[in-house]
């Protein structure tokens, strides 16, 4: 493509974008019912207005439905990998094999690096990391659902729902406790209970991080004037970034605390008293 053709393509692209922007601005506000931003933001935090029906059984927060969809997608992906990719693994890996091995190796290495008892931990942080990362990216796709009130909403990240975040935080804490029991028996429970704030901090860290992403995205998309160019940064880049960061943070913290409570090596004798004694002896001398 030469310089002239490139310039022409850029002009066409700009004109189309301008047409879309103007159309959106001048057609905005035409809907029958518009939710005020305060209500949208409040609902993103509390999930008290917009509920979705879970297969017609009960009304749940949209995050739960998103969680089921994300899990279904991940299981389908894992099934495809298991049937079509893993049997064709070679000693010298191809591109897809390399990606799979890198991901599994990353979590396995993280578990091995932090604890001697790491068989379950590796599998858990792999699943948690995959769920957090994919769940966070899920909000980018804007999958639509209809609320029980008849409104159309885009499904949020599963962990921006407080219930999902509490589940993940508490489950991580239980996994950490299981590591304590595996490594130190009853003493391990005591060691884990010492970190009593951990389930709250893990839960609310996830909830806060993902909710803030969801709120900023909601805010940006609420006003059509902000819906051009800016979502590339706040919608895509920030979501990608905090998907990576949150997956890494939770898995790293879980494996770190797991290693700490499962560690059963005896502590070295304290040197403080000896030092004091020796300093006193030196002083006496």
């Amino acid at each position: 493509m030469n310089k002239r053709e490139r310039r022409r393509t850029a002009v066409i692209f700009a004109v189309i974008a301008l047409i879309f922007m103007l159309a959106a601005i001048f057609t905005g506000g035409g809907g029958t019912e518009e939710e005020p931003i305060q209500s949208v933001m409040r609902d993103a935090v509390l999930h008290d207005l917009n509920k979705v029906s879970l297969f017609g059984l009960m009304d749940v927060n949209p995050g739960l439905l998103a969680g089921f969809i994300v899990s279904g997608f991940l299981i389908l992906l894992a099934l495809i990998c298991r049937i079509f990719i893993i049997p064709k693994f070679k000693p010298v890996p191809g591109k897809i094999q390399l990606v799979l091995e890198t991901i599994v190796g990353l979590f396995d290495g993280m578990a091995k690096g932090n604890s001697k008892i790491n068989k379950f931990l590796g599998a858990y942080i792999f699943a948690a990391g995959a769920y957090i990362f994919t769940g966070t990216l899920f909000e980018l796709f804007g999958v639509q659902a209809v609320t029980t009130a008849g409104r159309s909403i885009s499904l949020p990240a599963p962990l921006s729902d407080i219930n999902g975040a509490i589940m993940m935080g508490c489950l991580s804490y239980l996994v950490i406790m299981s590591g304590g029991i595996a490594g130190n028996g009853i003493k391990g429970i005591g060691k884990t209970l010492k970190e009593y704030s951990l389930p709250i901090s893990l839960s609310f860290r996830l909830f806060g991080a993902l909710l803030s992403g969801a709120l900023v995205t909601e805010l940006v998309y609420y006003y059509s004037a902000l819906s051009y160019v800016l979502p590339v940064l706040v919608g895509v880049l920030f979501t990608l970034l905090h998907a990576l960061i949150q997956a890494y943070v939770l898995t790293m913290l879980t494996s770190l605390f797991y290693g700490q409570v499962s560690d059963n090596t005896p502590k070295p004798p304290r040197e403080k008293k000896h030092r004091r004694k020796s300093s006193k002896a030196n002083a006496a001398a």
Binding site: S71, L74, L79, F126, D161
Partner: protein, 163 residues
């Protein structure tokens, strides 16, 4: 559940837990375990290869050391054998020299005895010849001159010779 802040719903927490448990099980069985098993098998395969190569290298080193020991032992054995053979050769040579010397002395002694004997025989023969010559000459003289003179002369000559 309206009394709990932030609309926390235990039922939904359990549903999230149910969802994640299924996901965990599926990911573990379908993805994590097979990939990890494959990686471990490959690691084991390469570790075995590495170990086999190390074993071969160690065996080669041991063979090399054994060969060097054998070469050293053979050298020492050869050196000892050579020393022993040199000593035997020296002894044999000395024996041969001694035997040769003894032979030579015997030959010389025999030669000396033979020479003496031959000398004596020659002298005896010469004496006899001289005697015969003298006798012959005397007889000639006697025949040519007078017998008495010749006889006297002969006797004088014989006496002179005896003296």
């Amino acid at each position: 559940m309206t009394g709990i802040p932030l609309n926390i719903d235990w039922q939904q927490i359990l549903l999230h837990l149910f969802n994640f448990t299924i996901l965990f099980g599926a990911l573990y069985i379908l993805l994590y375990k097979p990939v990890k098993n494959y990686m471990e098998q490959r690691e084991k395969h390469y570790a075995d290869m590495d170990k086999a190569a190390e074993d071969n290298l160690r065996a080669a080193e041991e063979s090399k050391t054994a060969y060097a020991d054998k070469v050293r032992a053979f050298d020492e054995e050869t050196r000892a054998e050579r020393t022993k053979l040199n000593k035997e050769l020296e002894a044999s040579r000395e024996r041969q020299i001694a035997a040769a010397k003894a032979d030579a002395e015997k030959i010389v002694s025999d030669a000396r005895i033979e020479a003496n004997r031959e000398k004596e025989e020659i002298i005896a023969s010469a004496q006899k010849e001289i005697t015969d010559m003298v006798t012959g000459a005397m007889e000639k003289l006697t025949l040519e001159q007078s017998a008495s003179d010749a006889f006297d002369q002969f006797l004088d000559a014989a006496e002179a010779r005896e003296a």
